[in-house]
């Protein structure tokens, strides 16, 4: 058998170890079920989302003078239609569609007279209320962005964590850079695009915080289990004396590392792929792929999302997924390095958990007046904590233009070196 073929066979056997293990498959199924339940728990917004899709079909998502004009006309005709309807039914007219849903009014005309309006008519009024919400939010955009002062946010953040000296200066510098970016963002009109209303539906939180963070942790658990399992398989099945004493033997460590990384990739693909497929089948984003992530409508809290680059929703999503892959590969490498020092896969898992905890504790032991405290969060462990704030403003510790890229690059280099050293060490290690 030639060398290449042998390598391939070894790899496929190693891979089989991971994926024929019932626990890995069961866990994947359990995690998927859990993610589906997370997605499903938000299902009540589904019908409301359709209303925006209709609006986008009619006007497009870009908000400019023409669009505002058309939208305004459309809104007033609809409002007129609604008032015609309500006048006919109950002799009342409303200034806003929302007034119809005022507690007393709704009780009087809907609860107490269920026959008065048909479900279709109520749907129409509800739809108009949603349209009205978008209409009035458009009017708020300029005002909101004119009032935005990121330097105030910077001071808030500095105060919140009690930063001082160098660290505070760096935060200010980062926010000053973000202010420049905000100006470009406004010039580009990235904020003036329709998107599912953030405060009402919280789709960004659902997708990038709830779901993506769950995914990141699930995949982390699987990756550590798989890597620990593959790399300690021979020791735990008492085949190590045989396997590692052959001519090819010690090089198996390299194969195991490669296979662990491939397995991590496969697990990530399965979980992310199926979860996101379900998400996007249930919630229709087909018209909104190219809306910038920094759209005013996406904002859920006081401060809108401000991304460092002009990213569409799709780009942001893909970048986030890329980040998931990167993190998981790094975790796989971390586990591999741990596994050359620890004999037992149970302790490897505990070791990984302890390392995670220690790294989260890192900022609390660094003085809060040096840049070191900001640097202490440049780890893949920190990256998985707030996936909703990646590539954008994300508080004192998360707002730096190249935070994600530097973290991934630096840790890749570090772990590559460590893996190489571990393998070298393993080549000469006593295996008995």
């Amino acid at each position: 058998m030639n060398k290449k073929k042998l390598d391939l066979r070894i790899h496929s056997y190693e891979l089989k170890k991971a994926f024929t293990s019932p626990v890995i498959l069961t866990l994947i199924a359990v995690f998927l079920a859990f993610n589906l339940s997370l997605i499903y728990s938000h299902i009540y917004v589904k019908d409301d989302l359709k209303i925006l899709n209709k609006l986008v079909d009619r006007f497009g998502y870009v908000i400019d003078a023409d669009m505002e004009n058309d939208f305004q006309k459309y809104y007033s005709t609809q409002l007129g239609e609604m008032n015609e309807l309500t006048e006919r039914k109950s002799g009342t007219a409303y200034t806003y569609a929302g007034d119809f849903f005022e507690y007393d009014n709704y009780k009087r005309y809907v609860h107490q007279q269920p026959e008065l309006y048909s479900p279709a008519e109520l749907d129409f009024i509800h739809e108009l209320r949603v349209i009205e919400m978008y209409y009035f939010k458009i009017q708020e955009i300029d005002n909101t962005y004119n009032k935005l002062d990121l330097m105030l946010i910077a001071e808030d953040e500095i105060g919140k964590y009690g930063l001082s000296g160098q660290a505070a200066e760096t935060v200010r510098k980062n926010y000053a850079k973000l202010t420049e970016r905000l100006d470009t963002l406004i010039q580009n009109g990235e904020h003036k695009n329709l998107f599912y209303s953030g405060p009402h539906y919280q789709m960004h939180t659902l997708l990038f915080k709830t779901l993506l963070r769950a995914l990141l942790f699930q995949i982390m658990i699987l990756v550590v289990l798989i890597t620990g399992y593959i790399s300690k398989y021979e020791f735990e099945h008492r085949t190590h004396l045989l396997a590692y004493s052959t001519k090819r033997g010690r090089k198996l460590a390299v194969d195991k590392l490669l296979v662990s990384i491939v397995a991590s990739g496969i697990v990530t693909t399965i979980l992310v792929g199926l979860t996101f497929a379900a998400y996007f089948i249930i919630y229709d984003y087909s018209r909104l792929w190219h809306v910038p992530i920094s759209s005013f409508f996406n904002a859920e809290y006081k401060l809108p999302y401000i991304s460092w680059w002009n990213m569409s929703f799709l780009t942001f999503l893909l970048c986030s997924v890329a980040l998931v892959y990167a993190c998981q590969l790094l975790f796989s490498a971390v586990t591999f390095v741990l596994s050359t020092f620890i004999r037992n896969s149970y302790y490897i898992f505990a070791g990984f958990a302890i390392l995670f905890g220690l790294i989260l504790l890192l900022p609390s032991v660094v003085p809060f007046d040096s840049n070191a405290v900001l640097l202490s969060v440049y780890t893949p462990f920190n990256l998985v904590l707030n996936p909703q704030n990646r590539f954008m403003e994300g508080g004192a510790f998360g707002t730096s233009k190249y935070y994600e890229i530097i973290t991934i690059a630096a840790w890749s280099l570090l772990l590559l070196t460590l893996c190489w050293l571990s393998i070298k060490r393993f080549m000469k290690q006593n295996i008995n």
Binding site: S21, T26, S345, Y346
Partner: protein, 379 residues
């Protein structure tokens, strides 16, 4: 007995204990220490705590109508003091702020706002914060019924409404028991429970698999006593879990004693100064005992489930993998019901006992079935 003590010694081997201590220390730093270091957390929580302690000293566990009059009088006296202060302070007089009312209504976005926040940022005993707290306390006392109702989502269930009515009519509602003390304890016991459950599961998990890996089982089961090993191991695991829980609770309560809340031990937790209503009229101390008992029960349940998994799993990843959904259910889904908010009327009165009975029954059945099979198992 000798076998059990050997088994226990095996559980507490040096490596595992060292790791457990390490994990506990990290969890303590990450999640628990905050509630010790920041109690009371900021202002006016600090003032609330101080005033409540004073109230407890003055009025005992309850505050009756007469004492309430006294408390209101104290509030009015303090306003007079504050107004004297305002009238003698040049900055305020220039701004035309001479009454407490004016002070409260000072706009935020102005130079006046700065003046005002300067007053608020005074360290130590601060009459402005204290007045705010007293006002809230008085309001809570006056609005007993509505306050209790407001905690719950509408529409409120019949038995909940009945219980709230009962609580409000009971003397216990006038108990002096600040919510910050309750919330602080609830957060602490919740994290301590997480730590306890994780510790127990971490220590107990390798119990069977270690033997299987070392092929000790083949040896044991050919001996007369061999099959009974299963039961001895269960006993050993229960004792070990009991020791871990006790050790961690002792550490916790030693640390907790530094929070200085013992003066409220005899106050009814259904107090109007605490949020929510509870199915039983417990004092704070009784509530603490209840959570501790619940935690022991939960620890034993987790021990039994973990043992069951450990006795079946062929390797470590299976144990950890199977533990993930189990711990998620225990820690993520059931926790509120089982420990912190167990007797809150948010849940039906029988939720907690049923949850425990159900889990104990499930765990016991699994272990019993396994034991039955064990006696006949082929090795």
């Amino acid at each position: 007995m000798r076998i059990i003590s050997h088994e226990i010694r095996k559980v507490f081997n040096l490596k595992m204990v060292a790791l457990l201590l390490f994990i506990s220390a990290i969890m303590y730093q990450l999640f628990i220490s905050f509630y010790f270091e920041h109690f009371p957390n900021g202002r006016p929580a600090l003032d609330d705590y101080r005033i409540s302690v004073q109230m407890q000293k003055d009025y005992g566990t309850h505050m009756d109508e007469e004492e309430f009059q006294h408390f209101q009088q104290r509030y009015k006296d303090q306003i007079v003091e504050v107004e004297h202060y305002l009238q003698s302070h040049k900055g305020f007089v220039d701004a035309g702020v001479t009454t407490y009312e004016d002070f409260r209504n000072m706009p935020f976005d102005s130079e006046l706002g700065a003046l005002r926040s300067k007053e608020y940022n005074e360290p130590g005993s601060n009459p402005f914060y204290e007045l705010q707290v007293r006002e809230n306390l008085i309001k809570s006392y006056e609005h007993k019924e509505t306050d209790k109702l407001l905690t719950y989502m509408k529409p409120i269930k019949e038995e909940q409404a009945a219980r709230i009515k009962q609580v409000v009519e009971n003397e216990g509602v006038t108990a002096i028991f600040p919510y910050i003390v309750f919330e602080n304890y609830k957060s602490l016991i919740t994290y301590v429970s997480v730590l306890v459950v994780l510790s127990v599961s971490f220590i107990i998990s390798p119990m069977f698999i270690m033997d299987r890996k070392n092929h000790v089982i083949d040896l044991q089961y050919t001996a007369k006593i061999g099959r009974k090993m299963f039961r001895k191991k269960i006993a050993a695991a229960m004792v070990a879990a009991f020791l871990i829980i006790t050790a961690q609770l002792i550490c916790f309560f030693l640390l907790y004693s530094a929070n200085h809340v013992s003066m409220f031990f005899n106050s009814n937790i259904n107090s109007v100064f605490n949020y929510g209503a509870f199915w039983y009229d417990l004092t704070f101390l009784q509530y603490i005992v209840l959570t501790v008992v619940a935690l022991y029960a939960l620890g034993m349940i987790v021990t039994l489930f973990t043992l069951f998994i450990s006795s079946l799993a062929p390797n470590y990843i299976t144990i950890i993998g199977a533990q993930v959904p189990l711990l998620y259910i225990v820690l993520g889904v059931l926790f509120d019901v089982m420990i912190g908010d167990s007797i809150n009327i948010r849940y039906s009165q029988y939720t907690q006992p049923l949850a425990y009975l159900g889990l104990i029954a499930a765990a016991a059945t699994l272990v019993a079935v396994k034991w039955k099979r064990e006696r006949l198992a082929d090795i």
